[in-house]
């Protein structure tokens, strides 16, 4: 009986292997390409799965010192951090109001935010580009700081509403009986209990805005304003000439901030992903 269980486990792992290879191989191949010498990279007789003629950092050197990659990464960081903080603040108070307070049209507003959550960015980028121009933010990274909250706030609100509802009402009421105002109760009692939810919302907001592409591609174009994803996919390709080594180096480096967060907060990602869809 014990032997059968063991073999079932081995079988499950074996069946998972194709899925894991499918998921991870593109990243392995990306990293491998970024470290290969051009001689081996463009040799059709070489085995593409390994490095046999020695690794090199020339692609990384070219990327860091001969392109604007560092500027793009700084832009990405600035936009992502600001958009995350703004969305988290707006989302937190909106979620608290929707989850806890009774006022005019509260149910309608909740539905409205849910519907906004479902609107894909590719539906609105054309008119939004006009709005951005009218605001005087054409070809500016600040356009992204302003527009990213449009998809981050509905997400944060939706996620945090779920968390706030799990905080027992009595805890808050106790504090208010003791003389605390509602805002004090929110700040000192509810938010500390909802910290896992806030971490989760912050992580997802950071990831979503770091990964955003269509708005960044549409609203910014000059080399000093674009984000890392846009820079790597547009500026590194000159005409039809692809510098595959540097392209892959760029893809690897621009993924690093997300991978670091991901390694430390994997469990939050798992719970946030399920909560975002189910709650």
């Amino acid at each position: 009986m014990k032997g059968r269980k063991f073999w079932n486990q081995v079988l499950a792992h074996a069946a998972l292997m194709p899925f894991i290879i499918f998921a991870v191989f593109p990243f392995y191949h990306m990293a491998l390409t970024s470290l290969k010498q051009n001689r081996e990279l463009y040799d059709r007789t070489a085995v593409p799965l390994l490095i046999r003629q020695g690794a090199t950092l020339e692609h990384y050197n070219r990327l860091l010192w001969e392109t604007e990659f560092i500027t793009w990464t700084k832009n990405s960081l600035l936009v992502t951090i600001l958009a995350t903080v703004i969305s988290l603040v707006i989302g937190t108070i909106a979620a608290y109001a929707l989850a806890r307070l009774k006022f005019f049209a509260v149910a309608g507003l909740g539905t409205g935010i849910f519907v906004t959550y479902l609107v894909p960015t590719s539906l609105l980028f054309l008119p939004l580009a006009q709005v951005v121009n009218w605001l005087g933010l054409g070809d500016s990274k600040w356009a992204l700081v302003v527009t990213y909250p449009t998809f981050l706030v509905p997400f944060c609100t939706w996620l945090l509403m779920g968390y706030f509802r799990t905080v027992p009402k009595e805890v808050e009421e106790c504090a208010m009986v003791d003389g605390a105002t509602r805002i004090q109760a929110l700040w000192r009692i509810v938010l500390p209990i909802a910290v896992p939810g806030l971490v989760c919302a912050a992580l997802f907001a950071f990831t979503l805005s770091w990964n955003e592409f269509i708005y960044a591609l549409t609203f910014t174009s000059s080399s000093e304003q674009i984000t890392a994803s846009v820079g790597v996919t547009t500026e590194l390709i000159r005409g039809d000439i692809y510098y595959w080594g540097s392209l892959m180096a760029g893809a690897v480096l621009a993924s690093v901030p997300i991978v670091i967060l991901y390694v430390f907060f994997l469990d939050y990602y798992v719970s946030g992903l399920t909560a975002g869809a189910i709650k």
């Binding site: 079932n8 486990q9 499950a12 792992h13 998972l16 899925f19 894991i20 998921a23 991870v24 593109p26 990243f27 191949h29 990306m30 990279l41 059709r44 593409p48 799965l49 707006i90 108070i93 109001a97 929707l98 307070l101 009774k102 005019f104 509260v106 507003l109 935010i113 894909p120 960015t121 539906l123 609105l124 054309l126 008119p127 939004l128 709005v131 909250p149 449009t150 706030v153 509905p154 105002t181 509602r182 805002i183 990831t207 592409f213 269509i214 591609l217 549409t218 890392a228 994803s229 790597v232 996919t233 595959w244 892959m248 893809a251 997300i258 991978v259 994997l266 990602y269 798992v270 869809a277």
Partner: protein, 313 residues
């Protein structure tokens, strides 16, 4: 004495104003709207207003840098004369249908496997979720190198294992192969969401039900069919709803991998709208193409909500 009482009275008066203010803001019908208004204004200005503008653009012949005129539904009707649009319309359904279908089947299989007793549970979950976390535009760039016409590692592997004969397909340059390529990348990127969410649904199914079914003599297949699947339907419906919306409006993968080519064979609404609206400047027509997304999305949302409600009753 008189000098001493004055500041004391003032300090007594100040908290009373503050107290009155905080009491005012503490009322739910004041604090509620106050708290919701930043989010409300943001959505009004940057979602609802652009949406109305999209409708206005689509009903006009707006062209960059030229005064526009109202032309009614002409854009929506004229699009059907365009081969590119008809091709895109067809692509959208082929792409979405095949990608979501594959994600359902593979997602359920992967979730069932992840629900087994595993030795490296955390590491395996981490690996499976990775494609969902990395910026899509960048990982798709990796895929476009993997599908490169001369140095494709996919072709190399298939040739080396004897599955195909040389020279092998030009993935991104041939019509059906290009569609296959964008579908594969979409499945790769969307599978983690299906698997992890369905896994949460699986974990929530009470163990007693399986034990009861086993006691009644149900084998693994009928346990899956009569216990797992019916109880997973609710979560599955929601996952499919989300995935359909985001697969239908896909932009990043197409833009980076094929730019809609070869000859429009992989264009979707979002990429064609960008090409027509921004690259050639016909904003009115571009907005009309974007808005073709909307009724299709409404139908999907409506069908899903109806299904979920039916399940609930």
């Amino acid at each position: 004495m008189a000098i001493g009482t004055l500041p004391a009275a003032a300090t007594r008066a100040r908290p009373s104003i503050r107290a009155r203010l905080s009491e005012f803001f503490d009322r739910e019908h004041i604090l509620g709207p106050l708290f919701i208004s930043p989010a409300f204004l943001l959505i009004l200005l940057l979602v609802a207003y652009p949406f109305c503008m999209a409708i206005y653009f689509s009903l006009s012949n707006t062209f960059i840098g030229r005064p526009s005129h109202f032309i009614g539904l002409t854009n929506f009707i004229n699009l059907w004369d365009s081969d590119a649009f008809r091709q895109t319309f067809q692509n959208a359904f082929v792409f979405c249908g095949l990608a979501v279908g594959a994600k359902i089947v593979l997602g359920i299989s992967l979730a069932l496997l992840l629900n087994q007793q595993l030795w490296f549970k955390r590491m395996i979950r981490g690996a499976v979720l990775l494609p969902w976390v990395i910026p899509t535009a960048l990982s798709t760039l990796g895929w476009s190198w993997m599908f490169n016409s001369l140095y494709s590692v996919v072709n190399w592997t298939l040739l080396a294992s004897g599955i195909i004969d040389p020279p092998g397909p030009n993935w991104l340059g041939q019509k059906y192969y290009a569609m296959a390529a964008v579908i594969i990348v979409n499945i790769w990127r969307g599978l983690p969401f299906f698997a992890i969410t369905l896994l949460a649904g699986l974990v929530a199914i009470p163990k007693e039900l399986y034990e009861a079914a086993e006691a009644d003599g149900a084998g693994p297949i009928s346990r899956f069919w009569y216990v797992t699947l019916p109880l997973l339907k609710g979560v599955l419906a929601i996952v499919v709803l989300f995935s359909t919306i985001f697969t239908f409006s896909e932009f990043n993968i197409i833009y980076v991998l094929t730019h809609g080519g070869p000859i429009n064979s992989t264009h979707l609404f979002a990429t064609l709208a960008r090409q027509v609206g921004l690259e050639t400047g016909r904003i009115g027509e571009g907005a009309a193409i974007s808005l073709y997304l909307f009724p299709a999305l409404m139908i999907v949302v409506w069908a899903q909500l109806r299904y979920v409600r039916k399940q609930a009753n």
